[in-house]
């Protein structure tokens, strides 16, 4: 069953940049992005068992690799599934502010290194 109670008007399609043909074209892309996300998930799991620090030296390489993959996956979801790629500047603008304040939130927590409360870090288990 596939019915068309009221076909979308040209004006509506223009408003949203999604004509019938556009959407049909996008569907293939959605499947590909879904596949890419599944592959990246498998890759994230597999790479988490590789001891990068042993091969590269230094600390927390596994963390960095996992976060790069997660950021890539998140980018795909936001750009394609959430249509951010073709979204209006209004949204981009306030998302930029959100990113700025969220980063600030993370940096605030790092201030505890500057003025640690005694007894709350290290060896508090003994």
């Amino acid at each position: 069953m596939s019915d068309h109670p009221t076909p979308s008007t040209a004006a509506e399609s223009h408003d949203h940049g999604h004509s019938h043909e556009d959407i049909a074209r996008h569907v293939k892309g959605y499947f590909m992005v879904g596949g890419a996300l599944l592959v990246c998930t498998g890759l994230t799991v597999a790479l988490s068992y590789v001891d990068f620090d042993k091969y590269i030296g230094g600390h927390n390489w596994n963390f960095i690799v996992a976060m790069i993959l997660a950021a890539f996956k998140a980018g795909l979801v936001a750009a394609i599934f959430m249509h951010l790629k073709q979204e209006k500047m209004t949204i981009w603008k306030f998302l930029l502010f959100t990113a700025f304040f969220c980063l600030g939130l993370f940096l605030l927590t790092l201030l505890h290194w500057v003025d640690p409360i005694s007894g709350t870090t290290r060896s508090h288990h003994f």
Binding site: P5, S8, H16, T41, K73, K88
Partner: protein
């Protein structure tokens, strides 16, 4: 009252109103989860060496659940695309699959993953007692290899040895009669008991038995004074996880894809040698506290999404017949929320399960 710009874009923003609304809401959600993720960073960098657990979660199940959410993200965007192409039946199929996947995610999380944690036992050994439990901790070898120490013994709690000398016998009997306890051994005229327990939580219930009443002559029960604590746990009988049964095996240096398995070895841990013990629940460690908080809040979001999608699924046809573009916009907005929930999980999965 008709809400304006439900279908066509508002001239000044270039967006229909609900889309602007959901994006503002999602921006606030970024700050909400951002706060919790920064708490994770804060707790993790502040944890002592060895006190941030690794390998306690079931990675295959977590990976499967990640795939479930990703596939549901694809199906919800396809549901929206079907509406844009005016294919109602296809929309119903994709939306139905999305709802089923959301429910599957919650069932796995709340019905399988979480309950397993409630019955897994962990006891952190006091640092000055590590040498006594060296054959279960393997810290000498870990130190030689420059790896983090292993302060915890984990496994399945079979029995606890309790000292009930100061307990209110009536209160103790009430707890013991509940059915999930069985007295395995009674010594010294009933003063020290060995009790079979089915979970660490049951052992905790025993420690909550109040002490004997010191002033029984007092008629008013609210004025009774009691010896505290009534029941003292003396020792834990634990069936060890493989990692503690063979702590010196290089296999156990790093977490595995396959979850921790139980060994056949059962040992006794003295309660005085333990700094803290519990099931794998929020009070176990900062790790589980932040794990349950974030995955719990995320689970609530999944539930909210499922409820909204059910509304679209069961009650959407009337609006679709009247104005299909409006219906498509509703699904797009719901979908944006769903993708955000997927996006949060993309970060939750590696930081708790893999790193």
């Amino acid at each position: 009252m008709q809400i304006p710009y439900e279908v066509s874009a508002r001239p000044d923003t270039g967006l229909y109103n609900a889309k602007l609304g959901i994006w503002l809401f999602l921006a606030s959600e970024v700050m909400l989860f951002g706060g919790l993720f920064s708490a994770y960073v804060f707790l993790r960098v502040g944890a002592d060496d060895g006190y941030w657990p690794h390998g306690l979660l079931n990675v295959p199940v977590g990976t499967f659940n990640t795939a479930v959410l990703i596939i549901s993200s694809v199906t919800v965007v396809l549901a929206w695309a079907s509406l844009k192409m005016r294919q109602w039946f296809r929309y119903k199929c994709y939306m139905g699959i999305t709802i089923a996947l959301g429910i599957l995610f919650l069932v796995i999380k709340l019905g399988y993953e979480w309950p397993q944690k409630y019955v897994h036992f962990g006891a952190f050994i006091k640092k000055d007692k590590w040498s006594q439990y060296e054959e279960y901790l393997g810290n000498k070898r870990l130190a030689e290899k420059g790896l983090e120490p292993r302060p915890e013994i984990t496994g399945h709690l079979h029995e606890v040895e309790i000292n009930v000398a100061d307990a209110d016998k009536g209160e103790l009997d009430k707890v013991l009669k509940r059915g999930d306890f069985k007295i395995a051994k009674e010594e010294e005229e009933g003063k020290v008991l060995t009790v079979e327990v089915h979970s660490p939580g049951a052992a905790e219930d025993l420690t909550k038995v109040p002490g004997a009443i010191l002033n029984p002559e007092e008629k008013d029960p609210s004025k009774w004074q009691r010896k505290e604590p009534g029941v003292k746990i003396e020792a834990f009988e634990v069936q060890l996880d493989e990692i503690n049964a063979n702590p010196d095996s290089p296999e156990n240096d790093r977490p595995h894809f396959v979850p921790r398995s139980l060994s056949d070895k059962v040992i006794s841990i003295k309660a005085d040698d333990v700094s803290s013990w519990s099931a794998f629940v929020p009070k176990h460690s900062s790790y589980f506290a932040v794990y349950f908080t974030i995955t719990g809040l995320h689970g609530l979001h999944v539930l909210a999404g499922v409820i909204v999608f059910c509304y679209f699924f069961f009650f959407g046809e009337k609006l679709y017949r009247k104005n299909p573009e409006h219906m498509a916009n509703r699904v797009e907005v719901g979908g944006l929320f769903w993708h955000f929930v997927d996006l949060v999980w993309i970060f939750v999965f590696p930081i708790f399960y893999l790193l």
